[in-house]
């Protein structure tokens, strides 16, 4: 599903070159539930952006579902993000002036899906998230957990193969966090590949594999194939 080969990312800061990622080799199989952990400044966000096709690596090859997306241009990457990747963010990133259902419809607008179909799919996605009575609520009128459910509905509505969650529980209390993570687990069991970036070990425990990033490297893993206790 995801294959990163010798990925590096560096910025030019003044005259100094800063290496954020250094020779990353990583492969994630289809249907996996992977957590990426690491202290802040470790490069895990950059790694996440590259996996999410929001950023391009400086060198190296990134194969997503067999396609070499590292050679794609902006327009092709937008299509990949739209069709193959669903994003869930810490701050939810819902559009504040759109109702829950309109927010869920957004990725389908860019996918060119007709209005009626969009509406129906968005309804189904929200129903699945247990929000059937919140279709026409603005994000402001929703609780944190509900907002994140809307965001998850939006992430999965185009049936992407990969769902990327960046600190999805960072703004939620523990109880809500657990129910959100259980949702991810359900989606994973339905076949979606899920990558969660977090710095909380309890969250990482939901994943079947944890990747530790430190100073731009992936730490040799000692925690392979660990199953999270349910």
């Amino acid at each position: 599903m995801i294959q990163l080969e010798s990925i590096t990312k560096s910025f030019l800061l003044g005259k100094e070159t800063i290496h954020v990622l250094d020779d990353i080799n990583l492969s994630i199989q289809e249907g996996e539930f992977v957590a990426i952990m690491g202290p802040s400044g470790s490069g895990k966000s950059t790694l996440m952006n590259i996996i999410g096709c929001l950023d391009k690596p400086s060198t190296g090859r990134y194969l997503l579902d067999g396609q070499d997306v590292s050679s794609y241009n902006d327009k092709e990457l937008a299509l990949v993000r739209n069709q193959s990747i669903g994003f869930v963010f810490q701050q939810f990133h819902l559009l504040p002036r759109l109702t829950a259902i309109k927010n869920v419809e957004l990725p389908m607008i860019y996918a060119g899906i007709s209005k009626a179909e969009r509406h129906e799919k968005a309804e189904r996605a929200l129903e699945k998230m247990g929000l059937s009575d919140r279709f026409n609520y603005l994000p402001n009128a929703l609780s944190g957990g509900q907002k994140q459910r809307v965001a998850i509905a939006r992430a999965m509505v185009n049936n992407p193969k990969l769902i990327l969650a960046d600190e999805p529980t960072g703004a939620l209390d523990t109880k809500t966090s657990m129910s959100i993570m259980n949702l991810f687990k359900e989606l994973n069991q339905e076949g979606a590949t899920i990558v969660v970036v977090t710095h909380e070990p309890e969250i990482a425990e939901f994943a079947s594999r944890t990747i530790m990033v430190r100073d731009g490297f992936i730490q040799p893993s000692e925690a392979l194939d660990r199953r999270a206790p349910l």
């Binding site: 929001l54 902006d74 937008a78 993000r81 963010f89 990133h93 559009l95 002036r97 860019y110």
Partner: protein, 397 residues
């Protein structure tokens, strides 16, 4: 993503900032309204000027301007009526001439009871009524019998009714014109428009006029051509025929309409140029206002742009979204401006008695032009939006 979706999105986003949108539109509204008003009044004025010189029904006036020698030979020549009964009969023989309308005007005293006013008395024939719309407010108009029988009947202007009859209904009263008793059969309508001041006038059938003043000559002569194309030829033929009949060189003349319409055209062109540049400047300033607000809007919505890009919006789609938003803004402004300008032009023409013409070309031009402004001044902000880095934008607070 369809155009309609972009449009709905643009309208929603403009609705969110109602006050800001309205204020931004104002520049465009004023600019477009100014153009519409000026063009409407300008075109109306041009049409009015042209119709004054050409007459509405393919008519052209023949006037008499004696040469120096003629005046020296006969100093009273200017006081004499220059058109004779025979002239009219001869003119009617010309194939291009459909009708000859002649009238005679002289100044006289009109008397009613003890009051006396100096008025202008015009003797008219029946064809005069066909070309000049004398609308009767009360009483009745002339009939064929009045013209043929030379009845002592008169139509008087509204102003004379006010001055001589102090506003009382004069229909049926007898007044004296040049010491001859005349019955008033009707009062004419007040002339409309603030530019026309009513004057004290009396109209008599020409037969009656002849009896009152003892002359069968005419002071004014207008010919009606069979068609608009023949108007100029008819005028030339008529003037040369009159010059031949009166043995004069070039005393009988018609207005050269080509020269006049050229002159009017030049004036209009200069006016259009001046007004056009003023309107252009105001629209330019309005456009800069639009650009300014769109730049603010792009900055404010940086996060929204980042989210849209993460969800799969291409740079082109973001560019289109903001471009359509600015074009919607200016288009709405333009449409409001058109209505505003059209209404103002109508009101102005209502009070000034000056026609206003809002042609569809001007309306279409206003719509297209306001959209072009939105596009031209929206391209920079839209481009800025589309060039944003999605990662930075998502982090933007």
């Amino acid at each position: 993503m369809s155009f309609m979706e972009n449009l709905v999105m643009a309208l929603n986003s403009l609705k969110t900032h109602k006050m800001r949108s309205i204020l931004t539109m104002l520049g465009i509204v004023i600019g477009v309204a100014a153009v519409i008003i000026v063009v409407a009044i300008g075109q109306g004025g041009e049409a009015m000027l042209k119709s004054q010189f050409t007459g509405s029904a393919n008519t052209i006036e023949v006037f008499y301007q004696p040469s120096e020698e003629e005046i020296q030979a006969n100093p009273n020549i200017l006081l004499q009526a220059p058109f004779k009964q025979e002239d009219i009969r001869a003119l009617q023989q010309l194939p291009e001439v459909k009708q000859v309308v002649a009238s005679s005007t002289t100044m006289s005293a009109a008397r009613y009871q003890k009051d006396s006013k100096d008025i202008s008395v015009t003797g008219i024939n029946q064809s005069y009524l066909q070309l000049n719309d004398l609308k009767v407010e009360s009483g009745r108009n002339f009939t064929t019998a009045d013209f043929l029988g030379g009845r002592r009947a008169a139509l008087i202007s509204n102003k004379l009714k006010e001055e001589l009859f102090k506003g009382k209904n004069p229909v049926g009263s007898i007044m004296t014109v040049a010491n001859q008793p005349i019955e008033i059969i009707g009062v004419l309508e007040k002339p409309t428009g603030i530019l026309s001041f009513g004057s004290m006038e009396v109209y008599l059938p020409f037969q009656t006029w002849k009896v009152v003043y003892g002359s069968s000559d005419y002071t004014q002569l207008t010919i009606q051509a069979a068609s608009a194309e023949q108007l100029q030829t008819a005028g030339k033929k008529a003037s040369s025929l009159l010059n031949k009949l009166h043995n004069t060189e070039n005393s009988y003349q018609v207005i050269n309409m080509e020269e006049i319409s050229q002159g009017i055209g030049q004036v209009t062109q200069i006016m259009t140029l001046i007004i056009g540049s003023i309107a252009g400047i105001s629209l330019f300033v309005g456009g800069i206002g639009v650009m300014n607000i769109m730049l603010v809007s792009v900055t404010e919505r940086t996060r929204e742009i980042g989210i849209r890009m993460a969800l799969g919006a291409t740079r082109g789609q973001v560019l289109t979204q903001f471009l359509i938003e600015s074009m919607t803004l200016t288009l709405i402004g333009g449409i409001i401006g058109i209505f505003f300008g059209w209404g103002t032009a109508k009101i102005v023409s209502l009070f000034a008695g000056w026609p206003s013409l809002v042609s569809w070309q001007v309306v279409a031009g206003g719509v297209v032009f306001s959209m072009v402004i939105g596009m031209v001044f929206g391209i920079l902000p839209a481009n800025k939006a589309s060039k944003l880095d999605p990662i930075e934008s998502l982090r933007y607070e």
